[in-house]
């Protein structure tokens, strides 16, 4: 254990490069948190990577599984983790002990790219930058619960929570939480007042004008609306709730420690969500900067060229049938930079139908650099691709969609049409590739059963997984649980009542 207690400060040579690279990054306009680098051995690296980048997490077997996978594939030389960077302030980044100097330089340049992105991208604006401490606190709390209630009990409950972990509303942090909602409810009219015309909201009018300003049909309208509001308030939740974990946290019959554990899982899920929403951009941005800093700013030595080229191409390689976020990201940023440098944007360009003119379009606008900085501030993967993916780019990157052909039981290239590729891409990125699921009714069948609705957008749920997840949901809700979805173009309601699963036709109305 002693070996890990020693804090490895950077060796002199690395320290010198660090300072140099940081200065270059700053000079290029990158705006980073303070970044602390640490050189660590590979099994420490595997440990931290298994913990999702954090040195301290709550105890759970899943991390052990991940560690085994990482450590094993490193031992067998199948893969290597080059860098790890945590989105906190100050930003922590790890370098792998024993890497060549060129690797370390590349990683450092790459890390500054990430760090700038973390600090400036809008979707990280709500992130807790002291997550290191928060995670450590979570760990302490879970350990305490384990001491009190037993390792197995706590671990099994964490399993249950984790299986619902993806049921959060990833946009929730960016919507100002409406505090007045609660206050509004307080002003609700008591039941007996419905129908009492004098209590209905009226437009202000002098008495003699009232009849005209607030005519009978207007009042009737108001009455109806009020009734609806009251009706709605009787439903729990009032509106379908996409943050299922939040709903369970406040409404499920949990003990105190269980509620706390669920809260911890939810909190961490929200922390990691922005990283999932900006994978392509984040990696693209960091790769863009490592190439720029390494090659254009002379960080890479003449005799390191080949190694550098090797590492770079390894991270941006296109495997057949797989989309590489590093590759798409970096190319798209470069494409944007080029387009805005040449002025290939705007009404005039869009309207131009002459292919030759389009290809040779150049107004020397020189806005490229400015544009990519703007893009990295405002976009996430979805808007990024929606806005900047062009048919030309799509063809250049050789993008295609694939689908499963059940007859041949094989995966086949389905199409290279721009429209289809883009649609598929955007679909995959929507809600981070997770199905959209909302709490519809917590008093389903008027028996406090829980009804979730899957907002079906063309792709069915995996049934086996759905069954298992419902089982877990049941352990939290403790009453029968249902999910309404579409299976092979049929509305179905899949349920679990504690003993067995059921499936029936379902009319969503």
């Amino acid at each position: 254990m002693i070996q890990y207690l020693k804090v490895s400060s950077l060796p002199t040579e690395l320290q010198e490069w660090r300072t140099k690279i940081e200065a270059i990054a700053k000079d290029e306009g990158l705006d980073c948190f303070d970044t602390l680098f640490e050189v660590i051995s590979y099994d420490k690296m595997s440990e931290i990577a298994a913990y999702g980048g954090f040195p301290t997490r709550y105890p759970h077997w899943r991390f052990g599984m991940e560690y085994e996978r990482l450590a094993k594939s490193h031992t067998y030389g199948l893969s290597k983790i080059y860098e790890l960077v945590i989105n906190t302030d100050p930003c922590y980044a790890y370098l792998l002990e024993g890497n060549e100097m060129v690797d370390q330089k590349l990683v450092m340049s790459h890390v500054f790219g990430h760090c700038d992105f973390f600090k400036n991208n809008f979707f990280f604006s709500r992130t807790n930058r002291k997550m290191l401490d928060t995670m450590a606190n979570h760990a302490t709390r879970v350990r305490r619960y384990q001491d009190m209630y037993g390792i197995t009990a706590v671990e099994e409950f964490i399993d249950v929570c984790l299986s619902l972990e993806n049921l959060i509303d990833i946009h929730r942090p960016y919507v100002p939480q409406n505090k007045t909602e609660v206050e509004e409810r307080k002003q609700d009219l008591p039941d007996e007042l419905i129908g009492d015309i004098s209590a209905l909201p009226r437009l202000r009018a002098k008495e003699y004008m009232d009849e005209f300003v607030n005519p009978e049909d207007y009042l009737e309208d108001q009455r109806k609306r009020q009734k609806e509001t009251l009706e709605q308030q009787r439903r729990i939740p009032e509106r379908p709730e996409r943050d299922v974990l939040h709903f369970l946290l406040h409404n499920a019959p949990l003990t105190r420690w269980q509620r706390n554990v669920l809260g911890i899982i939810r909190n961490e899920a929200y922390y990691f969500a922005p990283q999932g929403m900006t994978k392509i951009m984040n990696e693209g941005w960091a790769s863009y900067w490592h190439t720029h800093i390494m090659t254009k700013r002379g960080v890479v030595d003449g005799n390191e060229c080949i190694e550098y080229a090797d590492r770079h191409s390894r991270c941006t390689v296109m495997h057949k049938g797989r989309m590489n976020p590093y590759k798409i990201g970096i190319e798209l940023f470069r494409d944007i930079e080029e387009r805005w440098n040449d002025g290939r944007f705007g009404l005039e360009y869009d309207k131009c139908t002459d292919m030759a003119a389009r290809a040779n379009w150049n107004t020397n606008a020189g806005l490229g650099r400015e544009k990519i900085f703007e893009v990295r501030r405002h976009h996430n993967d979805i808007t990024f691709l929606d806005e900047f993916l062009t048919p030309e780019f799509c063809a250049k990157m050789k993008l295609f969609t694939f689908a499963h052909n059940p007859r041949a039981n094989e995966w086949q290239i389905a199409s290279r049409q721009f429209k289809e590729v883009k649609q598929k891409l955007l679909f995959q990125l929507t809600n981070m590739g997770q199905p959209v699921i909302e709490v519809e009714d917590a008093n389903f069948n008027n028996r406090s059963e829980l009804l979730l609705i899957h907002r079906h957008a063309g792709v069915d749920l995996d049934e086996r997984y759905a069954h298992e997840t419902l089982r877990n949901l049941f352990t939290i809700w403790k009453r029968p649980v249902y999910i309404g979805t579409i299976k092979s173009d049929r509305n179905v309601l899949i349920g679990f009542d504690g003993r067995e699963h059921s499936e029936e036709g379902f009319d969503e109305g």
Binding site: G64, C315, K320, D462
Partner: protein, 369 residues
């Protein structure tokens, strides 16, 4: 490391999973061939947390690369090219490495096998030499060049003769370093398993597969009980011969069956190589129970009585059911030996099909001899 705790929790869960699926692993034989030197890779069906997710076959996706629409990207259930870029190939099914020892332990727990008491204290110890260190004297053939050079270099630098421009280093007598050895004592393998199998025409592929699976597990268990273990293989039809393990499991002969031939050979092997005072001996014989003649069966009984049963810890006979065999031999054995009684070290087991393997292993190893 903090992760060790999580890792051991994970291993614990894995162990539980293997235990629960053990019978299935045994009867399908799915672990054989996944075996390395002392580890077995076990594919685990599902050790992940369920969640609401899309049906991947229904979903499809976006890829990158050459190819015309309609071109195949690979078959099967799994999505092509899963895994994160920059992280190496993604892993599809989780395969966990378990040592044979651990596996045997799980087998022991699940089938409630008793530990074996070795016969007496007859551990035979062997000695062998190992290079373990360095010393300043020794024969030239054991000179350690690198260490010698290092010593010479140190000395040269220390006395200030070292010249980086002309880095000549001359070793003198005192710089010389030689490898040294020490003698290691280790217990010799002290158990031997002799597998005998009937390969006459009536033993089909399925019967052989059963023998193969069963012998794998028996080996795993016995290995965990003894320091070292040797295995010998005998096949027989009307005549018997000793073969290697590959031949043992893959030969198919035709012709008659004379079980006595195998017993004779086994008795010979024991007499030549494994004095019963020093060895724990485990003969296993698998057959479909169809012997050539009553006379031969009589010879078998005599051989068993005189040499095989007395010298062995336990003599095991497994009768595999085959559509051609009469299955008479097991009845003969039961008539002549008090099979099933505590004192009898001859154990018989009938194996109807693959599902019966588990029970049969239990019968063979359950006595703890």
């Amino acid at each position: 490391m903090r992760i060790k705790q999580d890792h051991s929790r994970f291993r614990h869960i894995v162990r539980g999973k293997i235990r629960r699926n053990l019978k299935q692993y045994i009867s399908t034989g799915s672990l054989i061939g996944k075996q390395g030197k002392d580890k077995v890779s076990i594919p685990l069906p599902q050790i992940e947390l369920p969640r609401f997710k899309f049906n991947s076959q229904n979903e499809g996706g976006v890829g990158q690369g050459e190819g015309e629409p309609g071109e195949s990207l690979g078959s099967g259930e799994e999505e092509p090219g899963q895994g994160e870029a920059g992280e190496g190939e993604g892993e599809k099914a989780l395969e966990v490495d378990v040592t044979l020892d651990e596996l045997a332990q799980i087998l022991g727990e699940e089938l409630e096998l008793p530990r074996i008491e070795p016969k007496g204290q007859k551990e035979v110890v062997t000695e062998h030499d190992r290079y373990t260190g360095i010393r300043p004297v020794g024969p030239n053939s054991l000179r350690h060049f690198k260490r010698t050079y290092k010593e010479a270099l140190k000395r040269t630098i220390a006395i200030g003769e070292y010249n980086p421009k002309n880095p000549v280093v001359l070793p003198i007598r005192d710089d010389m370093r030689y490898r040294s050895w020490s003698t290691v004592k280790s217990p010799q393998s002290n158990a031997v398993v002799i597998y005998m199998m009937d390969v006459s025409g009536s033993m089909g592929d399925e019967q052989k597969e059963i023998v193969r699976i069963e012998s794998f597990w028996i080996n795993a268990w016995l290995k965990s009980q003894y320091e070292g273990i040797q295995t010998r293989y005998i096949i027989h039809d009307a005549t018997a011969r000793e073969v290697d393990d590959h031949t043992f499991f893959h030969t198919r002969e035709s012709g008659g069956t004379m079980i006595s031939s195998a017993y004779k050979l086994a008795a010979q092997i024991i007499e030549d190589d494994y004095p019963s005072s020093e060895w724990n001996i485990y003969p296993f014989h698998f057959s479909d129970g169809d012997n050539w003649s009553v006379d031969d069966t009589r010879t078998c009984i005599r051989l068993l009585n005189e040499t095989l049963v007395p010298s062995a810890n336990q003599f095991s006979y497994g009768q595999v059911e085959s559509p051609y065999g009469s299955g008479q031999f097991i009845k003969d054995l039961r008539e002549n030996f008090p099979v099933g009684e505590e004192s009898c070290s001859l154990v018989c087991s009938e194996i109807k099909n693959k599902d019966a393997i588990v029970e049969s292993i239990k019968e063979f190893l359950g006595a703890g001899r």
